[in-house]
């Protein structure tokens, strides 16, 4: 039904990557970075941003059979760009602006005309920021690493 679905595998991986980065980034940063690229474009709303739930599944013992842990709020949105690309977004939380913007960018990112520009100026900086954040967190946690040692008692 949509041109976006005839993707080759590497295209699909690229799309998974940008969708992941946009979902994990803060909405304020995403919107601020992308405002200038979006403003001149018109999008048709296919499915306006709507809030719902996704069931969160875990695995028994972390690796075994699945079980339902609980729900999580999420927002999804579908738009169509003037060039006919369908942009989808699925974002944890209840931020409709975030979901709408991510869907618009997903549509534009599938367009070869804009793809490289958007990847360089939006996706890469966001991904870099996320990686930095994770690194900072990991580093802080690493400072709490302990080396327990058991005392040898003089019993021989």
């Amino acid at each position: 039904m949509m041109p976006s679905e005839n993707l080759t595998e590497s295209n699909q991986q690229a799309r998974q990557h940008w969708m992941s980065v946009m979902a994990k980034s803060r909405s304020e940063t995403l919107i601020a970075l992308s405002d200038t690229y979006i403003n001149e474009h018109r999008f048709e709303t296919i499915r306006a941003a709507e809030v719902g739930l996704t069931q969160v599944r875990g695995r028994m013992g972390g690796t075994g059979s699945q079980f339902n842990l609980g729900d999580m709020t999420m927002t999804r949105c579908v738009v169509r760009s003037s060039n006919g690309h369908y942009g989808h977004s699925y974002i944890a939380g209840r931020n409709k602006e975030h979901a709408t913007r991510a869907a618009q960018l997903d549509a534009m990112l599938q367009d070869q005309t804009y793809q490289q520009d958007l990847i360089t100026n939006i996706i890469q900086p966001l991904a870099h920021h996320l990686a930095e954040q994770n690194k900072r967190k990991a580093n802080e946690v690493a400072q709490t690493k302990v080396n327990f040692f058991t005392l040898v008692r003089g019993e021989d």
Partner: protein
């Protein structure tokens, strides 16, 4: 029996206004914001999300504010809100092995791949009141400086402790049966139920209830000799596979706590002898809950290991039908509702019985006199 009662509208409205006033407290003190609760009471938020069964820190914080800090009430609010949203998807199972770890400890091995990371914890604190917090709290500079004498490179992968034992054939294996898990929010559990239904019920169960039952197993009521094999807290990626896309995409991250308990070894059906295990998983930083959950997950596997069910912690139906604090609080609290007619009939009955007895005694007495 309940009978409709009319009236009291003004009184009820005023009672709710008074609740608003009580919640706000003294107007001389600045009002607490939802963002402050979400940022500064993260453990309360984690409990409300887990038992309210929705991961959404902002909603949980709002519920805590609205309930004036009554966490069971906040959990109720979140559960009620949950029913207003439709469920779009079920996620791909989260992969806790790939967790961005904020804390990871094992009580069974002191040296493990990836090491022991204490993270932020109340463990090793002295439980003395910190009067700095009563004054101005910590300065931003104090909060910045976390130093260590050793330089740590954190590149080492964190192997799962219980999997290491699985590989040595010392631990009962977790096998992915590739089945769709039971969903107790759609189909109420029928007993005996599948472990997936049990874990779902335990995940949303009241922490205090599970804690007490878990404690009872340690004191000998359904003993299963536990060791905290591995406890992890951190962020995991959550992914879904929407039909319209046909491939998996990440929708964000969520913080979870996981506890893998190593329990006493047992003789299996095939005559092999291995350690047994229990599992706990919860939203946010929620360690006591996951420890308790893992204890109960194991004690409820009594049948599987041919253990006699003699203690409360081994009774599946008893635990699962009483562990939900929304249900429990609802039924206990309904005692506050008008039972006027109900009670009147009891009152009448008791009066009649006593009157009859008095009449009989009088008759007996007059018979003796005669």
């Amino acid at each position: 029996m309940y009978v409709a009662v009319k009236g009291g509208e003004t009184a009820i409205n005023n009672a709710h206004k008074l609740l608003d006033k009580t919640r706000r407290g003294s107007l001389d003190i600045p009002e607490l914001s939802v963002a402050q609760i979400s940022e500064q009471l993260p453990l309360a938020v984690a409990r409300v999300m887990t038992e309210g069964s929705i991961y959404d820190p902002q909603l949980a914080a709002l519920a805590i504010k609205q309930s004036a800090g009554d966490l069971v009430e906040a959990i109720f609010l979140l559960r009620a809100y949950r029913t207003t949203l439709s469920r779009f998807y079920s996620s791909d199972p989260i992969d806790t092995t790939q967790m961005q770890v904020e804390r990871r400890i094992s009580a069974t091995f002191k040296d493990l791949p990836g090491g022991q990371l204490l993270g932020s914890t109340f463990d090793y604190t002295h439980r003395l009141l910190d009067f700095t917090l009563l004054a101005d709290g910590r300065t931003p500079e104090e909060l910045e400086t976390i130093t260590s004498t050793s330089q740590e490179d954190d590149a080492e992968a964190m192997t799962r402790v219980l999997q290491m034992l699985e590989r040595e054939n010392l631990m009962v294996e977790e096998i992915d049966e590739q089945t769709t898990p039971t969903d107790i929010t759609q189909d109420p559990p029928a007993y005996p139920c599948h472990r997936s239904a049990r874990l779902q019920a335990l995940a949303r169960a009241d922490e205090g209830f599970l804690l007490a039952l878990g404690y009872s197993t340690q004191r000998g009521y359904g003993r299963n000799h536990p060791f905290a094999g591995e406890i992890r807290t951190g962020d995991v990626t959550i992914s879904i596979t929407p039909d319209e896309l046909g491939f998996s995409i990440d929708i964000g991250t969520l913080q979870v706590t996981e506890c893998e308990m190593i329990n006493g070894f047992s003789k299996l059906e095939n005559d092999d002898i291995k350690f047994t295990r229990g599992y706990g998983l919860a939203f946010g930083q929620n360690e006591r809950k996951t420890l308790s959950m893992a204890l109960i997950d194991r004690s409820l596997q009594a049948e599987k290991y041919g253990e006699e069910r003699v203690s409360p912690a081994q009774q599946e139906e008893f635990i699962l039908s009483h562990c939900d604090n929304v249900e429990a609080a609802g039924f206990v609290s309904h005692l506050k509702l008008p039972h006027y007619v109900d009670f009147q009939s009891e009152l009448e009955l008791l009066r009649r019985l006593r009157q009859e007895r008095m009449d009989n005694e009088q008759q007996g007495a007059s018979g003796e006199q005669a």
